[in-house]
């Protein structure tokens, strides 16, 4: 077996249109990790997720998930994309959307077991009773939760989320993270986030992506580090978020 590392990226590089997005990336993610992927726009956050999902192939290097190639192990990964690319007028109710997570190569129609799994996932994200509601009638935060349920109902070992809290208000954000924290008891979670200050209250580690990839325990996150991630001086606004139990130091 492998040494407790579920995701391993070994010297991975990826370029798009002659521009390097990721360069010689080494990353090891342990079982039970709850990490936030942060970095500037265009820094390669979504690319990193897509590499792990096997949606794109690295130009160089090796990616192993549970010791296998990403596209062979996809069924053990749950994925929540940004919902902005979905058609909001699509005629579907919550159950229709969540059941997509039960799709497989072999089954043409959904069975009673698939429906039970979908209901369980809907319960887990606190959306019980919404099964027959139209997906487009939901609020932004509710849609995110349903997409998490869709990712969950395939019983994944790893959950990847692309900006789960984009366009939702603060309270919804707190709610979502409480749900994710609970799920983390059984599932390894990686999520892309813009709001470093907020997520560091919940996550165990921060994966900084900007051409290179560095993973830090949350306790190390401070002003200096943030400056390095985003290159150059940033305006930092103090707010009530804490980076860790010990707090963090501003210059």
């Amino acid at each position: 077996m492998f040494n407790n590392h579920e995701i391993i990226l070994d010297n991975v590089s990826f370029a798009y249109k002659q521009r390097n997005i990721l360069e010689n990336v080494n990353l090891e993610v342990q079982k039970g990790e709850f990490a936030s992927i942060v970095g500037p726009n265009g820094g390669g956050k979504t690319t990193l997720l897509k590499l792990i999902l096997g949606l794109i192939k690295p130009d160089k290097g090796k990616i192993r998930i549970f010791d296998k190639e990403p596209d062979k192990i996809r069924h053990r990964i749950g994925y929540m994309p940004q919902y902005a690319h979905l058609d909001m007028n699509f005629p579907a109710n919550v159950m229709d959307v969540v059941l997509m997570g039960r799709l497989g190569k072999r089954n043409l129609w959904f069975t009673r077991k698939d429906r039970a799994k979908a209901l369980e996932a809907i319960d887990q994200v606190g959306m019980t009773g919404f099964t027959k509601t139209g997906f487009n009638e939901l609020s932004g935060g509710q849609k995110q939760r349903i997409l998490i349920a869709r990712a969950l109902c395939s019983s994944p070992d790893i959950l990847l989320l692309d900006e789960p809290t984009a366009n939702v208000d603060h309270e919804t954000e707190e709610n979502l993270f409480t749900i994710l924290q609970k799920l983390n008891a059984k599932i390894t979670i990686l999520l892309v986030s813009h709001d470093l200050g907020f997520v560091s209250k919940y996550v165990k580690s921060v994966i900084c992506v900007n051409l290179n990839v560095v993973i830090h325990p949350t306790t190390q996150v401070n002003g200096e580090l943030i400056k390095n991630i985003y290159h150059g001086d940033l305006k930092m606004v103090r707010h009530d978020h804490r980076c860790s139990d010990e707090g963090h130091i501003h210059d």
Binding site: P91, V97, L103, W109, R150
Partner: protein
């Protein structure tokens, strides 16, 4: 109304009866395929395919008359052109995102233009308007059989793969992560769209076919909450418009295709305004 019924059952008016049967049968694949074209937002691709069909018809006429290939019926040319166009258009839309609309637009125009050139080079007189805007006088018993077969094919495939088509249209990236070949289902959808267009060109013609493909689902989407509901409503709305349009065009001695389109288009716009005002 009674006059119309009399006319339909008058043995001398076989063409009218054929047109009504054709309209009824056509509504089934129109409702199903049209719903997918609407929700996947590929009306533009369907337009390009339908104009390429004209190139195929031109090629068939050219081969028939100039090369003596009498067995090469225009419908074979149309089917061939439609399937080739569907695959090309599908691959372009998947792999050439930046230039997609330019390439599709070019295919659209070139398909149409080559059809006209091929017909120019073919001796004899061909009524172009009947291909462009439909002509129910041309509907034969064989056409009815073709459309019935297409109905069975479309219904069979969609009942079998409903969940897959649903997912591919809603979120193809996620669907491919579930191990489903999304390219295959996308191309299959386009090929079925192409076949539907070919067989229905008889009723409304190449230029108008897109309207009949997208208007009924657009109206259905006001009321449908789920995909299968949208399809069912579309089938009945399409049936209503084709029959009402055929009846109207017969009573007023107007072209059937344009009557159907003006009727459904006006109804859609009125409903759209009502829905906007009610909101």
């Amino acid at each position: 109304m009674i006059e119309l019924l009399d006319a339909i059952f008058d043995p001398d008016n076989l063409f009218l009866r054929y047109a009504f049967i054709m309209g009824g049968l056509a509504s089934i694949c129109f409702g199903i395929i049209g719903t997918f074209v609407t929700i996947k937002r590929i009306g533009y691709l369907a337009g390009a395919i339908s104009h390429c069909v004209f190139g195929g018809i031109g090629l068939a006429l050219f081969l028939q008359v100039n090369m003596g290939l009498t067995w090469f019926d225009p419908i074979f040319g149309a089917v061939l052109a439609a399937i080739i166009a569907a695959v090309i258009v599908g691959l372009v839309s998947l792999h050439a995102k930046e230039r997609e609309d330019t390439i599709i637009g070019t295919l659209w125009a070139v398909g149409m233009a080559s059809g006209i050139l091929l017909i120019d080079m073919t001796p004899g007189y061909f009524n172009l308007a009947s291909y462009l805007f439909g002509d129910i006088l041309l509907i034969s018993g064989r056409d009815l059989l073709y459309v019935a077969c297409l109905d069975v094919l479309v219904l069979g495939i969609f009942i079998l793969f409903f969940n897959r088509f649903f997912s591919v249209c809603f979120d193809d990236e996620f669907t491919s992560l579930r191990g489903i070949n999304t390219t295959f289902f996308y191309l299959l959808l386009l090929i079925l769209t192409a076949l539907t267009i070919v067989l229905l060109v008889r009723i409304v013609g190449i230029v108008l076919v897109i309207a009949l493909l997208t208007i009924p689902p657009a109206i259905a989407s006001f009321y449908a909450k789920r995909l299968w509901q949208m399809m069912t409503y579309s089938i009945f709305i399409c049936l209503f418009f084709t029959w009402a349009g055929l009846g109207l065009s017969y009573s007023l001695s107007l072209s059937s295709g344009p009557t159907i389109i003006v009727l459904s288009g006006t109804a859609y716009l009125i409903l759209l305004i009502i829905h906007r005002l009610l909101r």
